[in-house]
Symmetry: C2
Subunit: 208 residues, 2 copies
DNA sequence: ATAGAAATAGGTATTGTTACTTAAATTTAT
DNA sequence: ATAAATTTAAGTAACAATACCTATTTCTAT
């Protein structure tokens, strides 16, 4: 006779968490489901309750799903992590997926995909709902990864509303150096036209 | 003996909707709760089911909560609308609040505030959870509201990555006219510096 | 040690945005 | 009808970003 399955669900939105617990309970009637609105609550209870699976929201204030997953794996490396997200951008997913998760499920698909994900991670499989999304624009994220350290630093400054002049002063280099970097970044990202780099930086500032 | 209360809940996220229905059912055991993932489904059923209250998500693809609320009021002006949102920015809330809603509840507060909101709207009161948020930065939204029609139109074009030249061609006016409007908008919004208007437009594009 | 990558910085030109001015035509409201 | 607001558009100037180019120094890995 095997032990009762213990599942953690962590999401900062109370209503979403309520729905999440409902779904898990519906699908896994024999499991114990614990819901937490705050990541630190889940961490506090993890040692005592010894969860087998943790279903985490990626986007949470203060401690996001990635950080929380690392903390949980610290407590017990056998805890299986299922990451939930609303984001559908391949770039974001790719940047997150390489950090030791066991499953990745999109919130829109969660009703159908969560039980599959749980079954798979318990068999030590890695599960990704909607994997075809990842094949759509492989190039872009690879190009983003091709940016050098300095180029990344400058792109972050651009996203922070800094002009080339301001960045040059902050880094104590010539404005021509910054302009040159901007050009190289634009070429790598295949951006053209007026303020295209600024628009890109602002739109993607969360993921630099 | 009064009729049974009929409540609609509309949210594009299945899990959130599930949680929402749970809360409503918990709080109002005697009511009939109908949940819809898609606004058009709610519209289709509204004539037959004659809801007294509709709890709507503000941010939905294709048809947002404002549009849906107008359609529902078209079917029956007596339907009370409770708008749910995640946004906490006073600007956004102020721009939405003046469109004939009966209640405004923040998603984070929804567990506690929803039943209060329903009771109030049924008594023909207007209910706002967390009204103190609105008093924080009154000025900015008032300035935003001070924009004229043409200024708004141009701001939307700017947010759509259009240059002054492109906007001038689209509207068949001189580029100097567009530049002049840009200046007037910047002055009204108290924006200064390089590309400040573009940055503002991109950051606020959802609420123009 | 040396080749390759990265960071530095200069030139030159075009285009776009900001910031100010004035002013006429048109629309809107009282 | 008249005043006020809005839209239109001109001039001028400075600053910023894009889009090319070349070239030197510095770091990095084999």
């Amino acid at each position: 006779m095997k032990n009762k399955l213990v599942i953690f669900a962590v999401d900062d939105h109370p209503i979403f968490l309520k729905g999440l617990i409902e779904i898990l309970q519906d699908e896994l009637t024999e499991a114990s489901i614990y819901g937490f609105n705050f990541p630190f609550e889940a961490l506090e209870k993890a040692e005592k309750l010894k969860p087998n699976v943790a279903v985490l929201d990626l986007d949470m204030p203060k401690m996001n799903g990635i950080v929380l997953s690392k903390e949980l794996k610290n407590i017990d490396p056998n805890i299986k992590i299922i990451m939930l997200t609303m984001h559908k951008e391949p770039d974001i997913i790719r940047s997150v997926i390489s950090k030791g998760l066991d499953a990745f499920v999109f919130k829109d698909d969660a009703v159908n995909e969560l039980s599959k994900a749980i079954k798979n991670v318990l068999m030590d499989n890695i599960y990704i709902s909607n994997p075809q999304i990842l094949n759509q624009t492989k190039e872009k994220s690879e190009i983003l990864a091709s940016l050098t350290k300095t180029e990344c630093k400058i792109l972050i400054f651009i996203a922070e509303n800094k002009t080339s002049n301001e960045i040059a002063n902050l880094l104590s280099v010539s404005i021509k150096t910054i302009q040159n970097h901007r050009n190289n970044i634009s070429k790598k990202l295949q951006l053209k036209g007026s303020n295209s780099l600024l628009k890109f930086a602002i739109s993607n500032k969360e993921w630099l």
